[in-house]
């Protein structure tokens, strides 16, 4: 008897892990394949275009303006429609907002999701959760976008403004010192101000004169400046050098002043682009990216990307012709 009980208990213990799965096998609840979003397209202006598409049907046949409509999106919402919009200092509109003309947010005003058909002027210290603007948008000093901003014209961000998680413009994005950002799309993205000319560096070493690999800077046969460079450690390029290929390094890449690279910069660490440098390809770093004063990334007529797995610091007069991504935040010097 004892043996039978022991055997029974043993069998039960062995079977126990399989019991929860039996139900799933008999009546599957989670048998669909892992979802792959096949409709996904990498559109930096997705948020703005999506909001415009959602709200456009409600703007047909409007009564006299201003109007407040009860609409149904994913949940019931209130839509406030204005001809021109002026939000007074410190005021808060908690509906979805559409302005068919221009919009001005005065100091400290707050809006939620907003579509401005004309120009938008977001005043000092004003907050907007999300803003689609069909004209030109200006973020005044200390203005803050909480989620995203998308602009059909140019986007001008004044000192200390925060561009939120995603900022995009069909035209240019002009940044000012102290701006914060995560992802920016613009043609170009550039920083206002005169490029700073650094003082000449008199401390020349052999590294400034010759190609110099401390460990394994591996150069392919017949190497010249038109070849790609792959290095297992740090790469330093002296001032004024011209490279036609791509530079890939497992360590940091440090470019001196005025370096020109026709290919891409790819680093598993950080990338420092010296002042006045020109990078015609993409910049991809798992660490931080430092774009020096007056440096340019990309080329006219061809979209390029600066991607940083860390932070981006962008100096005065610098420009990116395309997409600028800072996974851990960006800052304008």
């Amino acid at each position: 008897m004892k043996v039978a009980i022991l055997v029974g208990l043993g069998a039960l213990l062995l079977a126990l892990p399989f019991l929860p799965g039996l139900r799933e096998l008999r009546q599957p609840k989670d048998a669909e394949p892992i979802r792959i979003d096949e409709s996904f397209t990498r559109d930096p202006r997705f948020f703005g275009n999506s909001l415009r598409e959602k709200l456009a049907p409600f703007l047909e046949g409007l009564p006299e303006l201003p109007a407040r409509l009860a609409i149904e999106l994913r949940r019931p919402e209130t839509l406030a429609v204005y001809a021109d919009l002026r939000v007074p200092e410190g005021a808060h509109e908690d509906a979805l907002v559409v302005a068919l003309g221009v919009a001005v947010l005065e100091r400290g005003a707050r809006l939620d999701e907003t579509w401005i058909r004309g120009d938008a002027d977001v005043g000092p210290g004003a907050h907007v959760r999300a803003l689609a603007c069909d004209g030109q948008a200006t973020l005044r000093e200390g203005a803050r976008i909480l989620r995203w901003i998308d602009v059909e014209g140019h986007l001008l961000a004044e000192a200390g403004s925060d561009l939120g998680l995603s900022a995009s413009a069909a035209g240019a994005v002009r940044l000012s010192p102290g701006c914060a950002f995560r992802r920016i799309w613009g043609r170009p993205v550039f920083v206002r101000g005169e490029a700073v000319r650094p003082a000449p560096d008199e401390r020349l070493t052999i590294e400034d004169e010759v190609v110099w690999g401390r460990t394994r800077l591996s150069l392919p046969p017949g190497f010249h400046l038109e070849k790609d460079v792959v290095a297992l450690t740090e790469v330093r390029i002296g001032r004024g050098a011209v490279l036609s290929g791509t530079i890939k390094a497992h360590g940091p890449i440090v470019l001196g002043e005025g370096v020109r690279v026709r290919g891409h910069l790819i680093s598993r660490k950080r990338i420092e682009i010296g002042s006045g440098a020109r990078i015609f390809g993409n910049v991809f770093a798992e660490g931080d990216v430092d774009i020096g004063s007056g440096a340019h990334v990309g080329r006219k007529g061809g979209t390029k990307t600066v991607y940083s797995g860390g932070r981006v610091r962008i100096g005065p007069g610098a420009a990116v012709l395309g997409w600028l991504i800072a996974e851990r935040g960006g800052h304008v010097e």
Binding site: E24, L25, I34, I36, R42, V230, K248, G281, E286
Partner: protein
């Protein structure tokens, strides 16, 4: 004799512990470590020309699907060429390809007939001869490439160190039965955790022969694929590695595949993989150990990857030996139990689709009820062990006896 056998058993246990440790390290990296980003966020209008190769043998059930998906790619039409490789098909595959080629000049099929080596590597070689682009991507005929996949895979080659790229494979027919559900779990662990962790840790992510690609000039520089290798993907991975090239892994670049739906088809597939992989192990292990182009960590991971299909035969050999020693009275029961304990422990923590690794992947993938199926992987382990053991022995016989393996296609199930 008893001493030698005991040493052999201890060696097996040590190997099992090493593999178990490897899986712990990879899983912990995936959960807690820095995750290396892939380049899919890059938007670059200067995209390279790409040639997509689709090896086919009697693919009338699936040819239409893969070609339609490739024609719908979000990629500049003038920079995308598609070469379906009809390898001695006897069904309607050729007619389907002809109808597509007439309507779409981007599709340039090859019809392989007559004498000469058959199989995927030989077909790829022929296609490489006429491919017009440096970046080559490969999709098996039963795959359903989403619209952005060519662009996202091609981006890997902006990096001059990358010789090959691999995307993630996701079974689409998970609702078709018990086997497909278990394979779904295995795939999830293998890609979401194993491949991504190896990529993040700068180890040896593996090119898998489909949903991936390579540089044409590099492969042609060593004369193309060996037509008598069964695992041309593993062979390519290690050829690249010992020469200093790297394989990039793109975890978010996903593509549906059709997983085998019958145990017989899975058994044959796995046996072929084990045979080909072990064949590759015999070819490359010396070079992996001595290559100056690999880091010490890559050498260790490369050797563990090469030897992974030798583990089930080792375990089965060890179990058989311990039973023999026990029956003949050479070793006591305790030692036999010790080995059994380690075998069970290895099953739980160390085989190539261990429970915790799959469980971690499942959580990362947002799985819910299907995680209850994890214990059923025990049966998969027994099944896999047998198929892999036979495949590994096939490879040993191939190498010792000079036998030439022949390619065998995995059965399709789509209606």
């Amino acid at each position: 004799m008893a001493v030698a056998l005991t040493v052999w058993m201890i060696a097996i246990v040590v190997v099992m512990i090493i593999y178990a440790g490897r899986h712990w390290v990879l899983t912990l990296n995936r959960l807690l470590g820095h995750q290396r980003p892939y380049m899919q966020d890059i938007i670059d209008e200067d995209l390279p020309g790409v040639t997509v190769l689709v090896p086919m043998h009697n693919e009338e059930q699936v040819a239409d699907g893969v070609l339609t998906a490739l024609l719908a790619q979000d990629y500049p039409a003038d920079r995308l060429e598609i070469i379906p490789i009809d390898d001695h098909s006897t069904d309607r595959t050729q007619k389907i390809l002809e109808s597509y080629a007439v309507r779409n000049p981007r599709i340039r099929p090859i019809y392989r007939r007559g004498e000469g080596a058959r199989g995927k590597p030989a077909g790829l070689n022929e296609a490489l001869g006429i491919a017009g682009n440096e970046v080559i991507l490969v999709f098996d005929a039963d795959y359903q490439p989403p619209p952005d996949i060519v662009r996202e895979l091609a981006l890997a080659f902006l990096d001059p160190e990358v010789g090959a790229v691999m995307g993630r494979v996701v079974p689409s027919n998970t609702a078709s039965g018990f086997l497909a559900r278990l394979l779904d779990l295995e795939r999830s662990g293998g890609y979401q955790v194993d491949q991504q962790a190896r990529y993040s840790m700068n180890l040896v992510p593996q090119y898998g022969g489909t949903v991936g690609g390579f540089r044409r000039s590099v492969v042609l520089s060593w004369g193309g694929f060996d037509p008598y290798v069964l695992a041309e993907d593993t062979d390519l991975t290690f050829r690249l590695l010992v020469r200093g090239w790297r394989v990039a892994y793109a975890n978010k670049v996903e593509c549906y595949e059709e997983a085998p739906q019958t145990w017989d088809a899975r058994f044959r597939q796995l046996r072929r993989w084990a045979r080909g992989h072990t064949q590759t192990m015999f070819r490359h292990w010396r070079r992996v150990l001595t290559s100056p182009n690999m880091t010490p960590a890559q050498r260790v991971d490369g050797m563990l990857l090469l030897g992974i299909y030798m583990i089930p035969p080792l375990i089965l050999t060890g179990l058989g030996l311990s039973l023999a020693l026990f029956i003949t009275g050479t070793i006591p029961l305790a030692a036999t139990l010790l080995l059994s304990f380690f075998a069970v422990g290895y099953n739980a923590f160390g085989n190539f689709a261990p429970f915790y690794q799959v469980g971690t992947a499942g959580v990362l993938d947002g799985m819910r009820e299907r995680l209850f199926l994890l214990p059923y992987l025990f049966f998969m382990f027994l099944f896999n062990s047998w198929a892999v053991t036979l495949g590994a022995f096939d490879a040993v016989v191939d190498v010792l006896g000079g036998r030439v393996p022949t390619w065998e296609k995995t059965a399709r199930f789509r209606q």
